[in-house]
Amino acid sequence: MRYIIVFFILYLHWILWSGKFDAFHLSLGIISCALVTFMSHDLFIERKKLSPKIIVEAIRFIKYVPWLLYQIILSNIHVAALVLSPRMPIEPKIIRYKTKLKTDIALVTFANSITLTPGTITADIVDGEYVVHALSRKVADDLMTGEMEDKVAQIFEEE
C-alpha cells in the first residue's frame, strides 16, 4: 500500500515537471519512480491521521518560510563576518537543547531549521534533547532564546 502511494506521488511530480507526454519520457518516469520508491519508501514520514488541519498547517508553514529566510540571511552574514575576520573569533561547542515539541514532523522541521541557519548543526535527538553543534556564542544564544522553537510549535501543535 505504502509503495503504491509513494510511487503515485512521485510519478505525478515527474509528469508535472517534465511536461513531456511521449512514450519514451513516460516510461523513463515509471522506471525511475519505481527505483526511487523501492529505495526510499520507508523514509517518508507517516501521519497518524489525516485531517483538514493539514491545510491550516500548510498555510502557517508558508507564513513561517519568509521569517526563516530572513534568519538565514542574518546568520549567514554573521558567519561570513566570522570567516573573513583575521582573528576568526569562533568558539565552537556542543550544546544540548531541551525541546517541548512532540510530533515527528515538528521535530524534523525544527531540526532542519536549526541546521539551515548557519552556525548551528543538529547532530542528534536523544530523549527529546537536541544535540547541537554551535559555531559561536552568539548563534548559540540565538537558539537558546527559543524563538524559532515557538514558531515551529505554533505551526504544528496548536489547535
Binding site: 558567519v79 532542519n112 548557519p118
Partner: protein, 108 residues
C-alpha cells in the same frame, strides 16, 4: 531586471566564496561542516533566484515563467536536502567520536 539578476548572482557568489574560505580556514571537521554545508544554501538560493529572474528578461511568456518556477524549485529542494545531508554527516562524525576543536583562548 537584468541588473537585479546580476546583483542576486553576485551576492550568491560572494556567499559561496566565504563558504570556501571558511572551509579552508576553520580548524576542525565540525566547524568546516558549518562552512561547507550552509554557506552554500543561501549562495545557491541567491544564484538560482538570479537565474530565474534573468530567464524572464526576454518577456513573460508562459514557457519562461514555467522555467523560472522550475529553477526556484531546485532551490527549494536544496533547502530540504542540504541540511539533511549536513546533519547526517555530522551525526556520523559524532558517532565515531571525532573530538570537536575548542578555542583555548576563550574557554578558560
Amino acid at each position: 531586471m537584468s541588473v537585479l539578476a546580476v546583483i542576486f548572482i553576485l551576492t550568491g557568489v560572494f556567499f559561496f566564496t566565504t563558504a570556501t574560505i571558511g572551509l579552508l580556514r576553520f580548524p576542525d571537521f565540525y566547524t568546516r561542516m558549518h562552512a561547507a554545508g550552509k554557506g552554500d544554501t543561501l549562495g545557491a538560493f541567491l544564484t538560482l533566484a538570479g537565474l530565474a529572474l534573468y530567464n524572464l528578461h526576454h518577456g513573460f511568456s508562459v514557457d519562461a515563467i514555467l522555467m523560472s518556477i522550475k529553477i526556484l524549485l531546485i532551490a527549494v529542494f536544496i533547502f530540504i536536502a542540504n541540511p539533511t545531508a549536513t546533519h547526517a554527516i555530522t551525526k556520523a562524525a559524532l558517532n565515531c567520536s571525532v573530538k570537536p576543536w575548542e578555542n583555548k583562548e576563550t574557554s578558560k
